[in-house]
Amino acid sequence: MEIYYLWLRQIKRYTRSKSRMIGAVGQPLLFLLALGYGIGSLYKRAGNGNYIEFLVPGIIIQTILFGAIFWGINIIWDKQFGFLKETLVAPVSRLRILMGSALGGSTTTLAQATMVFFLSMLLGFRPYNWLLVPLALIVAMLFTFAVTCFGAGLASRVNDFQGFQAINQFLIFPLFFLSGALFPIQGFPKALKIIASCNPVSYSVDAMRHLLINQGYFQLWKDLAVLGLMVVVMVWFGVSSFKKIET
């Protein structure tokens, strides 16, 4: 019951902020258009096929990664402007508070990713097998929830927006650029290949590519295993960090 209402709170806050809704879809769309058309022709000339098709799964992961991390700012906001205290003195466990909020953040992030998916269809993207789309959705859900918990954990540990922004710059951007979301890992130099193989985000990008366009770098079972592990670790990180908050 309280989880549902905490979830609902996130949904209400989100739908009441039109700029946030547009902004969250704007960035990935910009990447899709600029890179898709900018690099697309080069990509084709190099004999790699359709770049937009290759790019879309990566852009969906991008939408989720940045959307879910950015959602963590809500936790800082609650912490700084008091609402968090209201929940922390309530007879509700911190686990439930975090789960309700994180599920809300996951829902809004996933809605954005779905929007990006349909917008990319306007640009000509088609999944190769619609029967696998529900599976891709499950992968997207798990990835979203893991990153949301990670964002919440980070937000629990820093006290200001600048600190959070710095983490965003120095951690999330590299994770994104070195994940094979934009460029095929096959073409990376050796050192970057190793880094990409250690980057958990790579595996979710890869899983999406397996399920949406039938291409992949790792094996699908490996992708799913890493994703599963990531969910467990991130939920643990989020919960244990959130429990440590002192007001």
Binding site: E2, F81, V89
Partner: protein
């Protein structure tokens, strides 16, 4: 069950080498209006945080209506309501939605939640604004809503941490009227802190003064005046705590909040 609803024994809080609260003991009687006064940095807020389960004491025991606050946090949380020094409402929700969420968090049955929300919002004269977003409210309206919210779950004790800070005289008077009404009609115990000594003098049945982490006086206004041989509470208070200005260590969160606030005002 004893006559006292709050029972604090040997309460201590140490941050690193910093002893903020030093072995304090006091009790508050059922139905009493209790004022907790002290200069900045004396340990008031730390004590309130410990009483309301937000902070774990280094040492000592706290009993709230017979419940051990340190060991049975959740049980204790049902028995008090709190209005924090800073607003703790969700600005992006409406007034009524804030009440609703509070009711859900405190497991109030739906019928009771609806009925009592209406009663309390009428009491603080916000019922006609129930569907407005809280961010459109003035400081005084927010404070009134917080009081209504803090009372929603039928608490036995209401903690008010500087509830009138930054409010104009009219709103302050109105606010104390509500509080006194609640104290009389529901027999609710009120525990408050304030820097406005004339407020404390007017409403408090009993006052404790804390300074440098220790309780240095505890009694009725009359007793405090007699003790210090003064005529009003302000003189008594200054006699007890001295005239020196206190240097408070800045809480990084607070520094950040004030920075954002000043930026917003620009």
């Amino acid at each position: 069950m004893s006559d006292s609803i709050i029972d604090v024994k040997n309460l201590t809080k140490i941050y690193g080498e910093h002893k903020v609260v030093k072995n304090i003991s006091f009790s508050v009687a059922r139905g009493e209006v209790f004022g907790f006064l002290g200069p900045n940095g004396a340990g008031k807020s730390t004590t309130i945080k410990m009483l309301t389960t937000l902070l774990k004491p280094t040492n000592g025991t706290i009993k709230l209506d017979g419940t051990n606050v340190i060991e049975e946090k959740n049980e204790a949380r049902f028995s008090f309501g709190i209005v924090f020094q800073d607003p703790s409402l969700d600005d992006e929700l409406t007034a009524y939605e804030n009440m609703e969420l509070h009711g859900v968090l405190y497991h109030l049955p739906k019928a009771d939640r609806i009925k009592r929300s209406e009663e309390l919002m009428k009491l603080v004269e916000l019922w006609d604004r129930k569907d407005s977003l809280v961010k459109t409210f003035s400081g005084g309206m927010k404070r009134r809503l917080e009081i209504a919210r803090g009372l929603l779950h039928h608490p036995k004790v209401l903690f008010l941490d500087e509830p009138t800070l930054g409010l104009d005289t009219q709103t302050r008077n109105l606010l104390w009227d509500y509080v006194e009404k609640l104290n009389k009609t529901e027999g609710m115990t009120i525990f408050f802190t304030t820097h406005y000594l004339e407020e404390a003098e007017n409403v408090a049945d009993r006052i404790a003064v804390i300074d440098d982490g220790k309780i240095i006086a505890n009694g009725t206004v009359k007793q405090l005046l007699a003790l210090t041989k003064t005529k009003d509470l302000e003189s008594a208070y200054l006699r007890l705590t001295g005239k020196q200005i206190r240097e408070e260590e800045v809480d990084p969160n607070e520094a950040f909040r004030s920075r954002v606030r000043s930026r917003r005002m620009r």
